[in-house]
Every structure is written in C-alpha cells, then in structure tokens.
C-alpha cells in the first residue's frame, strides 16, 4: 500500500493511504514495525485512511507492543469519521494514543 513518510525532528510520521485491511495490513505492519526501533517516536497520520479492519488494528497493536518493549512512543492522529467510529467500537483508544491533529500528537511525542 502507499505509505507517505516524513520526519519532524526525531519523529517519524507515516501517512498510509486508502484501506488498511486483510490485503494491505501486512505492508502497513511491516513499515510500522521497521520504524519502531529502540527509543523511536512514530506518529501514524490517518487523514488519508478510509477504512481499517481488525487486521489493521492488530498491526497497530503489534506496533504498540514493540514500541513499549523498545522504550519508544507511538501515536495516531487525524482519524476520519469512519475510522474514528471503528476505533470507538473496537475500544482501541486504550491500546494506542489517539490525537485529533498531527500537531497535537507531535507535541505529545516530543
């Protein structure tokens, strides 16, 4: 899947595009985990994500686990209405930190 990438200081910002589902979650998980090196701070900008399935949420969970084990930080921001609803239904806000905007997330990750 297409995953935009930039750096804001020491923070890696990933911007996946489209759906994160059975087909695309392996790519998403692979890129996310490779960015979560020891002590790394990673923000996933969801502004271009239309939909996330349980497979995509599991990938985020894997990221969260790896981040904690590596003393890193992981956050997500800019959930669209559908993705936000899926996060709420899945009770996923307890698994990963969710912010309204990338700016809020970046401030928290610094």
């Amino acid at each position: 899947m297409e995953i935009g990438e930039r750096r804001d200081g020491n923070i890696l910002v990933l911007r996946p595009v489209g759906r994160i589902d059975n087909d695309t979650s392996p790519d998403f998980q692979s890129r996310l985990l490779s960015g979560l090196t020891a002590g790394a701070a990673v923000l996933v900008d969801f502004s271009a994500v239309e939909y996330i399935s349980s497979a995509g949420l599991r990938a985020l969970m894997m990221g969260s686990k790896q981040s904690k084990a590596a003393n890193g930080k992981l956050a997500v921001a800019s959930l669209g209405p559908v993705v936000k609803e899926i996060f709420e239904i899945s009770r996923f806000a307890m698994v990963v930190q969710v912010f309204d905007t990338p700016a809020d997330a970046l401030a928290a990750l610094r």
Partner: protein
C-alpha cells in the same frame, strides 16, 4: 428448526441483583411519565413496554451460562453445552410433559470448562429412569469431567446414582455424523485445552455453534479455515465476549473473540444471521445493549456501499440486508 437460548452468558452465571431490578423499574416509570396509566388497557401497557422501552430496561440478556437447544421437529432433544441454562430447560420440559415422558437427549459439548457443564447436576431429566442422555464431544475427558463435578466433595449426589442412562461418544473433528436427523461436523478451536465448534445441517439449513474461540489471525478471508466452516450458514452463534481492543491487549490469550471479528468472519463466510453469544459477565444489560448497537453499526460500515442504519436501536434484532446481527438473551427463540 427452532433455536432456543437457555444460557447466553460466558464464564459464570450472572444473576440480576435487586439494585439492577430497581434501576429498571425506575427507568420504566420515568419513561412512562405523562402517560395516563390508569386509563391504559393491559394491551396498551404491553405495547408501551415492547415499543417504547429499550431492551435493557424492559428485559435482560440473562445470566445463565451456555446452553442452546436445537429443536429439530423430531422426538429427540439436541443441546449445545450444559451450562447453568440446562436447569431451566429440564424444568420446562417436566412442567410441559410431566416426569413420566421418557426422552432421548443429545448433548454436544464445546469443551469441559466449568461454565459449559455446570448445569448438568441440576438437569432434572438426568435423575429420571428411562431417559437416555448421549453426550458427544471431541475431548477424551468428557466422562471424567462430568463425573468429577457430580461427586463428593463437590456435589451430594454421585454421578453413578443418576437414574437415566448416560453414554459418552467421542467424535472425530471434521468427520460428519448423523444424530437426531441432523448432520453434524466439528472443528477444533483456539482455546486453552481446546474447544470445538459444531455445524448442524438439516433440510438445506445450517446452524453453527462456535463459542470459546480466540481468532487471532490477521487473514480472516477465504484462506481461513473458519470461513469455510461457517460458509453460508443460516445462523452463526459466535463468542463475542470482548471488545477487539481488550482481546488483543489485556485479555489476549484468554480464549475469546470480539464483536468486530464476529462481523468480519460472518461477512467473509456470507452468513445470514450472526448471534453474539457468551456475554462478558462484567457487562450489565445497558453495556450489552450498547455493544449490540455498536455491532449493528460496524456491520453496516464494514459493508462497502451499503446504506448505514441510524442510531437508537431498540430491538435486539436488526436486519440491514447484509448479515443480520442478533444479541443472544436467555429465552430468545429463532426460527430457521
């Protein structure tokens, strides 16, 4: 076929306490403010209860642990698991037919964890000579599990003194058997000590009973064996005990699944009706009602291009031309 839910709760029976009952009465009275109750007919009051009150106020999901009856139209009885709900099943039969009617009961055990067998010592027909009880399952410890809980120091009446004739039949997973006019096949599931799901078919209709299974795969698609097992089922009774967030974090490896995974598997397998089952005992009726509404919503938004139903679902059954989502409650009956 008719499916009756005698026990829908997971892990442990969960009776309503007096505070919960009082809260329901209070909410019902608050909702009735402004109505001239003394001039309403009993039928109008029944209609108010059915149509104006949410299910969490007018009813309850119930507190008995797993027990589901499949009425086949034949003389024999078929049950999935004998949690605490089987006590009420047995008592209802005796109340209807009297103790003299001799019957054959076919019980399919998902596994022998206590919540799935604990009702058997209180299953009155087991004490009546002439009744025959066939207990089917894929575990080798069926007899030992039922005998042990039914003996000192756990229970005052020993298993061997039961009046009925009791047989244990070990099934091979994936093999198909004919029992009480049903074709039955099973699948091994992910649960501590293993559990088994069952698919029952008769006259072109299929029911899957799949509880106590933790689906951890990230590929819930055509390649996943459970999608094949559930495919085109008319009814899927599914362990949706936890939220997805809980099941992948604090409750990972506890052996249960979520409403989100339930919907994804049901959609992938083109199941017609999905029943959320094995409710978390920590959840009260209001919470279970919220989870039901969330699940209906998720079913709609996870189905591309489909019109999303509105909020404020009061019925426990919503059909939106995709997978019909139902939340199990003790006393629920579903016809196939």
């Amino acid at each position: 076929m008719l499916i009756r839910f005698w026990g829908s709760r997971g892990s442990i029976p969960t009776p309503l306490g007096y505070r919960a009952v009082r809260a329901k009465v209070r909410e019902a009275l608050m909702a009735a403010r402004g109505l001239k109750l003394d001039s309403l007919s009993p039928e109008a009051i029944d209609a108010f209860i059915a149509n104006e009150l949410p299910f969490s106020v007018s009813g309850t999901y119930g507190g008995n642990s797993s027990c589901v009856e499949i009425e086949t139209g034949g003389d024999e009885y078929v049950l999935c698991d004998v949690g605490s709900g089987v006590r009420e099943f047995g008592n209802a039969l005796i109340a209807k037919h009297g103790p003299a009617k001799k019957s054959r009961f076919n019980v399919f055990l998902s596994h022998t964890h206590w919540d799935h067998i604990m009702g058997f010592p209180f299953f009155a027909p087991a004490y009546i000579p002439g009744n025959r009880i066939c207990i089917y399952g894929c575990h080798g410890v069926l007899r030992e599990a039922l005998r042990t809980q039914h003996s000192a120091p756990w229970f005052p009446v020993d298993f061997h003194s039961l009046g009925s004739s009791i047989e244990f039949i070990t099934l091979e997973p994936s093999h198909t058997y004919k029992v009480a006019g049903l074709s039955v096949t099973s699948i091994k599931q992910f649960h501590t000590g293993d559990s088994y799901g069952y698919r029952f078919s008769q006259g072109g209709k299929s029911i899957v009973y799949s509880t106590d299974c933790e689906h951890k795969s990230s590929h819930l698609d055509e390649t996943y064996p459970f999608v094949t097992f559930y495919r085109n089922a008319d009814l899927l009774i599914f362990d949706a005990m936890y939220s997805l967030g809980d099941s992948v974090s604090v409750k990972e490896d506890w052996g249960h699944s979520s409403n989100v995974v339930a919907v994804e598997l049901a959609q992938a397998a083109r199941v017609r009706r999905l029943v959320l089952f094995h409710h978390e005992p920590a959840y009260d009726d209001r919470m279970l009602e919220e989870i039901f509404a969330d699940t209906v919503r998720f079913e709609a938004i996870s189905r591309p291009g489909h019109q999303v139903p509105g909020q404020g679902v009061h019925s426990q059954r919503v059909h939106s031309q995709g997978v019909e989502v139902i939340s199990a409650y003790d006393g629920l009956e579903l016809e196939l």
